[in-house]
Amino acid sequence: MKNPELFDHLPDPELGQALRAALERSDDSAFVARVMASYDRALEQATVPTWEVLASWFRPGVAAAIVALIAGFLFGRVVLSGGDTASIDMAMAPAEGSGGGGGLTALVTAPDPPDASVVFTSLVESR
């Protein structure tokens, strides 16, 4: 072994070997397998399966569909009931705003499809 007081620049093989033996643990292959298993688990957790994404969408999707169905049913019922314009006017009032006329109501209740320019004018007026 080298002189303990010597400030040398080379590794001390004897000390190195003794320290290596003191710090060594057996079964490196088991350790590597453990690390790789942990890495695989981390990868699995990082990747969200498609079915989980779909499942996360399911409840809000069903709720939105039910709301849309009810709204469509009520709206269709009002329209098909024979032109109860009073209720339609009430329903459309917020959309028309305070300064609007009956343009939107007329568009919704008209039997024929409206002209595009009429729709545009009606929307501009409602603003």
């Binding site: 303990p4 620049h9 320290l19 643990r25």
Partner: protein
């Protein structure tokens, strides 16, 4: 990974003392290295890059452990004593060296292990530990002095 597994485990054990904690830290280091692999500059040697990550992981774990325990480890207990899963009896010299390492400051014992056990240069160790090269030389010198004295005493006893 197999090439560096033993080295990473030894370096982590030099920092932490406890072999199971050391393996956990080495594992943290490998996982971190796998995540950061894209950041590795292939023009530079891989070993120091990996050892820096492992040493940092071990240091982080030691800090967390110290916070949990809130009191210093008894150096004589470092190494864990006989374990149910350890079939082989630890050598007396090994026990003494581990105890002596535990008494050294963390940076000093890590520097000695990186230099004398793993064969890294002073410059590489400076990069691994993030300290000036001159400080590495000093740490290795002072760490060796204690360990060499212990080794000499043990050899005298064996005669």
């Amino acid at each position: 990974m197999e090439r560096y597994a033993a080295q990473a485990r030894r370096v982590a054990r030099a920092v932490l003392g406890d072999p199971d904690d050391a393996d956990d830290a080495a594992q943290d280091g490998f996982l971190s290295a796998l995540v950061k692999l894209a950041q590795y500059d292939s023009r530079r040697p891989f070993g120091p890059w990996l050892m820096r990550i492992v040493a940092n992981a071990a240091t982080d774990r030691r800090r967390r452990r110290n916070v949990r325990r809130a009191e210093p480890l008894d150096p004589s207990l470092v190494g864990g004593g006989p374990r149910p899963d350890a079939a082989a009896v630890q050598s007396e010299l090994g026990d003494r060296l581990r105890a002596a390492l535990a008494e050294l400051p963390e940076r000093r014992r890590t520097a000695v292990v990186l230099f004398d056990v793993e064969g890294y240069s002073h410059a590489e160790i400076a990069g691994i530990l993030g300290i000036p090269e001159g400080t590495v030389r000093s740490e290795v010198f002072h760490g060796r002095r204690r360990l060499r004295a212990l080794l000499e005493d043990w050899k005298e006893q064996e005669k």
